[in-house]
Amino acid sequence: MIKDYVRLSFFNLKRRRLRSYLTMIGIIIGIAAVISLVGLGEGLRNFVTAQFNIVDADVITVMASGTGNGPPGTGVVNPLTQKQLDRINSVNGVDVAFGRLIQLGDYLFNDKRGFTYIASIPAGEERKIVYDIVDLKTDEGRLLKDGDTLRIMVGSSFKDNDESGKRVEVGSKLEIEGHDFTVVGVLEKKGSFAVDTTIIMNEEIMREIFSEVGDDEYDVIVAKVKDGADMKAVKQDIEKVLRKERDVEVGEEDFSVETPENAVKTLTSTLSAINIFVYIIALISVVVGGIGIMNTMYTSVVERIGDIGTMKAIGARNSDIFVLFFLESGLLGMVGGIAGIILGSGLAYGLAAIAGANLGLDISASVSPMLVILSLLFSFIIGTLAGLLPALQAAKMNPVDALSESR
């Protein structure tokens, strides 16, 4: 029975080939626009999320609040201190906590000045933990170790820093804050802008050369949570300890305690807002495509008044007629949707590849199965919704009138 409906619908669509194609093209373009934009947007979001290069999910990051512009520690009025670090270390559930310095600094290489983040690595046992958490490995040379003073590791982006044919490699000398540093290691590419462009040195020497860093101050405190401990509870305990130590009330915190999850969330929520705006604009074209379907369906109802009359005269029920037209418009939507998904995915991956190659970034589109299913569903719904009114009109038609109207 259903098979008959589908066959009849297909037959009718085929009979008005040009009109069916044009109607579908509307949906195809709309769905392709949505798929390619969402695919690109999601890809971009994955790229941004990858910037938070913390592999371990059981790490809590503490920062002092500032005006919120620039790198961590910028514009901070009341910095984190050694004492606060000690307190965090004694919080139940914290395995180990250590502080890091992150500064924006300039370096001189091959007579060219550059600006980048300079970050510190703590000494001793904690060094190994940082290497573990950030998953630092070298491509060339070795990692920093205790006792290295005027030595640095550089991110992978320094490798292609060859405007004048020279590049930073193991043994290169970089002048930072008036001191000559020797590169002992070039890090593996992380795909994270923050890590790949950073210069890393031991904490001791960093405190020595950056005069503006207070003696017992830290820009970031990183706490590794014990296995099996409740992240949320530990986060709240750290907040409580810091409130007491920094003498602030609940709701007036001048610091932030973030789990990797909510750090990513904060950043991607802004990106999501922009994405959603773009998606809505793209969705407009699908809606316009839907209006096209509605128009086509109304036209075909008018054209087939005679058919409807005949079908009813030989016993078709209202519901049969309704399903017939409803199915037809749904098919228009879905077939258009499938073609749109294929076209849109191609566009998304193609554009991402072009953009990635031109910008030298690791961007790739991401068309998830969820997106595909949702788009398919959406195009079917748009199709059926658009067909709803015309199908109802057809179903309610009086067979006698229909037959006489069609001459």
Binding site: I29, S65, V77, R113, E252, V287
Partner: protein, 403 residues
């Protein structure tokens, strides 16, 4: 004769009322989106143009190359400021300084983080005020001799913006723990960050932050009849030598305001452009709908076309009738779309202003309206072209026979 054809087209559209409406609906949605987006894009550019006119084209700004996380040696010193004042072509130069700060309002019990700016109180104050594009709303500006006095941005005077309670003249704020008296409130600049600034004199800045004669920003007005970008080049060259730096290794940047504005305009244009292209997709779909409607109309009226041809209508006239029909669909859709787009933009502008972004207001130049209308007409008639050609080329004999 032509008038007859117009009447005929119109009649046909009215005859297929529902179908005409649906087709128009699809094009009006696209026009509405494009009109609203473009009016916002133009509005922001209009705002920037106004801003740069207020600032004047004779201004240059100097900043350390690292805009963030300035270390002591990155700032400009008093000696360096004096040196710049002496560069040929410089009319006047003023240093400004800023720091992130913690501000506390006792009556509201909340701590906020905002920028505090140290401003000169000498004869360069006027230029600085012009650059900040702020006018005083109430109270007075800072003057020589003020120490623990501050003027504040617009948002302080509004309830629930910075603090729950509105700050009034004479109220005390704690900036990094130091009590200062509010002596003036500025008018709205149009973005939440700038409208939350606190302005202090250099003396006040020294009292609170303990730094003196250290500038994070130097504003320069070139002398009369001087070319700003030529002076900027000269300053860059001289100052580089003064600091003993090689070309390419400068620790500072010099930029005319026009250049800075141009950079910003380019970004705005880029964003608007991308959004418009996305919105344009819906207009393409609408065009396809028009084409579809017109193809259907041609098929439906095959017999009519045959009759018209039989009694002497020429191909040209048939073509004209159908293109006119499609064009009218586009034009009508465009008109309604612009009207609705205008309402959407107005509502969006009001929402942005309520959120503190008064600078984000739509702008409707006549050519945007004319352009959108012309474009809608073009989309309509172009989409109608293939069906119209098909109609005009029909063989009258076969058309008459068509059932």
């Amino acid at each position: 004769m032509k008038l007859d054809l117009v009447k005929y087209s119109l009649n046909n559209l009215l005859h297929r009322r529902l179908r005409s409406w649906l087709t128009m609906l699809s094009i009006l949605i696209g026009v509405m989106a494009i009109f609203a987006l473009a009016s916002f894009g133009l509005g922001v550019r209009h705002y920037i143009d106004e801003l740069s006119q207020d600032m004047g084209t004779d201004k240059i700004m100097m900043q350390p190359k690292t805009a963030f996380a300035l270390s002591e040696e990155d700032y400009f010193t008093q000696n360096e400021l004096e040196f710049i004042r002496k560069v040929n072509g410089v009319g006047e130069a003023a240093g400004m300084t800023f720091r992130s700060s913690q501000v506390y309002f006792k009556d509201s019990g909340k701590i906020k983080y905002v920028y505090s700016m140290g401003l000169p109180t000498d004869e360069t104050f006027e230029m600085v005020e012009q650059l900040l594009t702020v006018d005083l709303l109430e109270g007075r500006t800072l003057k020589d001799g003020d120490v623990l006095k501050a003027t504040v941005g617009y948002n302080y005077g509004i309830e629930d913006k910075v603090f729950k309670r509105a700050v009034r003249l004479g109220d005390k704020l704690h900036v990094n723990g130091v009590e200062v008296e509010v002596v003036g409130i500025y008018e709205e600049i149009g973005n939440p960050s700038d409208d939350s600034n606190i302005y202090l004199t250099f003396d006040g800045f020294e009292e609170i932050f303990g730094v003196k004669e250290q500038y994070g920003y130097i504003a320069i007005r070139v002398g009369e009849e001087e070319n700003a970008s030529a002076v900027a080049d000269k300053i860059e060259d001289k100052f580089r030598k003064y600091r003993g730096e090689k070309s390419g290794q400068e620790t500072f940047t010099v930029q005319t305001f026009e250049e800075a504005v141009a950079t910003f305009s380019n970004i705005i244009n880029g964003i608007t452009g991308i959004l418009l292209i996305i919105a344009l997709v819906s207009l393409i779909v609408a065009g396809i709908n028009i084409m579809n409607t017109m193809y259907t109309a041609v098929v439906e009226r095959t017999k009519e076309i045959g009759i018209m041809k039989a009694i002497g209508a020429r191909n040209k006239e048939i073509l004209f009738v159908f293109i006119l029909e499609a064009g009218m669909l586009g034009l009508a859709g465009g008109l309604i779309g612009i009207g609705l787009g205008y309402l959407v933009s107005k509502a969006g502008g009001a929402a942005a202003a309520a959120a503190g972004y008064a600078s984000l207001r739509p702008y409707f130049p006549w050519w945007l309206i004319a352009g959108c209308l012309a474009f809608a007409l073009l989309v309509g008639s172009l989409s109608g072209l293939p069906p119209s050609i098909q109609a005009s080329k029909q063989n009258p004999v076969e058309s008459l026979r068509y059932e």
